[in-house]
């Protein structure tokens, strides 16, 4: 009769208690697996949507532009981008020029439901190279995409909804030129897109870059060149290009999405605290159960001590039982967590109503989907066992320290 076998028998003997305690762990683990999957999935999808619909994998911009990028200035653009684009193409780097600016959209009753104005962000895009970097055209749900030399615009789906716009409706854009003069552009809605990036859906207007160039008197300059999937070789080639153009700076994804990444980290930290609280609750439950188990078996422990079993082996016996509970809780938690995660990965949770109304920072427009992470399952498994062991150590040590053998025997 070794310690492990005795521990296993004890677990079976108090099977109700074992099940209840393991269930507390299972609950904590399921919550951890589910939340972690949701958060990781949200981060992966957010980053993908950020890259594919909003900023690409990196960007070239004027050195002074980035300092004021939040204002979307037009007076510090990349002058004469054509040779640069040729060099990028020669280096095998996929790139597209863009001019990004603020504007006011003005609409009038008939055909719109009412008169009004809305602020929006206009992206002057190069229809020929845009698809090399962005997946915007794929999310077109109505009409057609922007074409070169065309005054038509494509609206984000939610923006079109807010304006009451439909394909074929006229739209007036009020903005300022590069030199600061007021400019009014009469355009027509030629397409509406509905992409998984809420920022684009909510406020983006796409327009042909050559028309933007003309209206804003950019004289061939653009505010940015967006790049995609930079390999190490691409980075080296890009480094050489930027060396020759001291007016330019290369901004990678971490810099471009700095605010989002900080927010994601903060959210992840907050969720971590929530999970910690969940685990503390589970730990208190286990600790309480272990304490009850120990108190109930005090005479039995007294007998073992009287027969010469060392306190270390008695502690090992109780800890083995706790580890057994942890193991059962871990297996159940991982199984249940995996089952729930199947649904979370395949269907996800529809937050479209909330995401439509508010900006949570995530670049997800409709469904939050989970992801599979082996690391999470491994962490969950060992955390459960570790937690069960740690919470058992305190009561057993306390009992062995506070109660003498005669106290233990007397309690019978």
């Amino acid at each position: 009769m070794n310690i492990l076998s005795l521990a296993a028998k004890n677990l079976f003997r108090y099977r109700k208690r074992t099940i209840i305690t393991a269930s507390a762990l299972t609950f904590g683990l399921v919550a951890y697996i589910y939340m972690d999957s949701l958060l990781q999935g949200a981060e992966i999808e957010s980053e993908r949507n950020y890259r594919q619909y909003e900023i690409g994998d990196g960007r070239l911009a004027h050195r002074d532009y980035w300092e004021e990028h939040e204002k979307l200035p037009l007076d510090v653009p990349i002058e004469d981008p054509a040779p640069l684009l040729e060099q990028l193409e020669a280096a095998g780097i996929r790139a597209t020029p863009r001019t990004h600016f603020n504007a006011e959209l003005i609409v009038y009753q008939d055909p719109f439901p009412e008169d009004g104005a809305l602020y929006a962000q206009i992206f002057g895009i190069d229809p020929r190279s845009n698809n090399q970097v962005f997946a915007l055209e794929e999310s077109l749900v109505e009409g057609r995409f922007v074409q070169a030399g065309d005054d038509g615009v494509v609206l984000g789906g939610w923006l079109a909804e807010d304006l009451g716009a439909q394909v074929g409706y006229p739209l007036t854009i009020s903005t300022r030129t590069r030199l600061g003069y007021r400019q009014t552009i009469d355009t027509e809605v030629v397409g509406i897109l509905n992409c998984p990036n809420p920022y684009i859906n909510r406020s983006a207007v796409l327009m042909a870059l050559d028309r933007v160039d003309e209206y804003l008197q950019m004289e061939g300059a653009v505010t940015e060149i967006s790049l995609v999937s930079l390999s190490e070789a691409d980075e080296v080639a890009l480094g050489r290009l930027v060396e020759n153009r001291s007016d330019l700076v290369y901004l990678n994804f971490a810099i471009l999405a700095e605010d989002y990444l900080a927010l994601a980290e903060a959210k992840s930290g907050g969720s971590g605290i929530m999970l910690l609280i969940l685990f503390v609750i589970a730990a208190v439950g286990i600790s309480n159960t272990m304490l009850m188990t120990i108190l109930e078996r005090t005479p039995e422990i007294g007998m073992l001590r009287a027969f010469g079993m060392s306190d270390r082996r008695i502690a090992l016996l109780v800890i083995s039982e706790a580890a057994g509970i942890g193991f059962l809780g871990a297996v159940a938690g991982i199984t249940l967590g995996a089952l729930l995660n199947i649904q979370l990965v395949s269907s996800g949770i529809d937050y479209s109503t909330w995401l439509r109304e508010s900006d949570f920072g995530y670049r997800i427009a409709t469904r939050f989907r989970g992801t599979w992470s082996i690391q999470t399952f491994i962490n969950a498994f060992f955390t459960a066992i570790f937690l069960a062991i740690v919470t058992a150590i305190f009561p057993v040590r306390r009992m062995l320290k506070k109660l003498s053998i005669t106290d233990c025997l007397r309690s019978s």
Binding site: M1, N2, L6, K9, N10, F12, R13, P299, E300, G302, M303, L304, R305, A306, F307, G308, M309, S310, D311, S404, I405, T406, L409, S412
Partner: protein
């Protein structure tokens, strides 16, 4: 040989000190069948606990087989108990999840015995206590008398020099109590193990070869049957 020299034990509770033993001196030879008797609170359980090395005296000296016990640390005390001392408790204290066989085998396991050696010794012990057919039953499936036999088997399986039994018949009816005493007496003779048991039962006192009467923490009489 067990020697007690002027053993004293005080229990302190707050500002109150209760003297459980007030200078007990005793010499017990190997193989004696000794009963410590006396009313409740006379100090007999305390005396047994100290002899069994599960409690320490406040002062005085105790030696078992020539080994001074008072100075032993926790680990050494456990080692001594594991090898040399067996216990029989009033409420049997069998482990409910284990079978009678496993309850007895645990004593040998603690000494590091394994496999067929354990099986052989345990089976032999069950034959001696007359429970061969009940070996694989759990304690809940045994009568009080049978449970106490298992407890005696557990105490004796490791061949200790000393068995301490604290009121071993208190939870048994008179028939079972007498049977247990007869078993202990028989084993005392066949194993040459010293038996010390506490009691306040007249029938048990009559069974003892030597009777030590205690009163208020002191030995009031010490008689040996001829």
């Amino acid at each position: 040989m067990i020697q007690l020299r002027n053993l004293k034990k005080d229990y302190v509770s707050g500002k109150t000190t209760v003297a459980a033993l007030r200078g007990v001196s005793l010499q017990i030879k190997q193989g004696e069948f000794l009963s410590v008797a006396g009313p409740s609170g006379s100090g007999k359980t305390t005396l047994l606990n100290i002899i069994g090395c599960i409690d320490k005296p406040t002062s005085g000296a105790l030696s078992i087989n020539g080994q001074e016990v008072a100075g032993l640390n926790k680990k050494q005390s456990a080692e001594l108990r594991r090898h040399a001392i067996g216990f029989v408790f009033q409420s049997f204290n069998l482990i409910p999840v284990l079978t009678a066989y496993e309850n007895v085998a645990i004593s040998l396991t603690l000494l590091g015995h394994k496999g067929s050696d354990v099986k052989k010794q345990v089976s032999q012990m069950f034959a001696e206590v007359g429970l061969v057919n009940e070996m694989h039953r759990r304690p809940a499936e045994l009568s009080g008398g049978q449970q106490q036999r298992v407890a005696i088997a557990r105490a004796l399986i490791k061949k200790p020099t000393l068995v301490l039994a604290d009121e071993p018949t208190a939870n048994l009816d008179s028939t079972n109590g007498e049977a247990i005493l007869q078993l202990m007496a028989a084993l005392n003779k066949s194993h040459d193990t010293t038996f010390i048991f506490s009691t306040h039962d007249k029938m048990v006192m009559d069974f003892a070869q030597r009777l030590v009467m205690m009163h208020d923490g002191s030995i009031s009489s010490d008689t040996t049957k001829k």
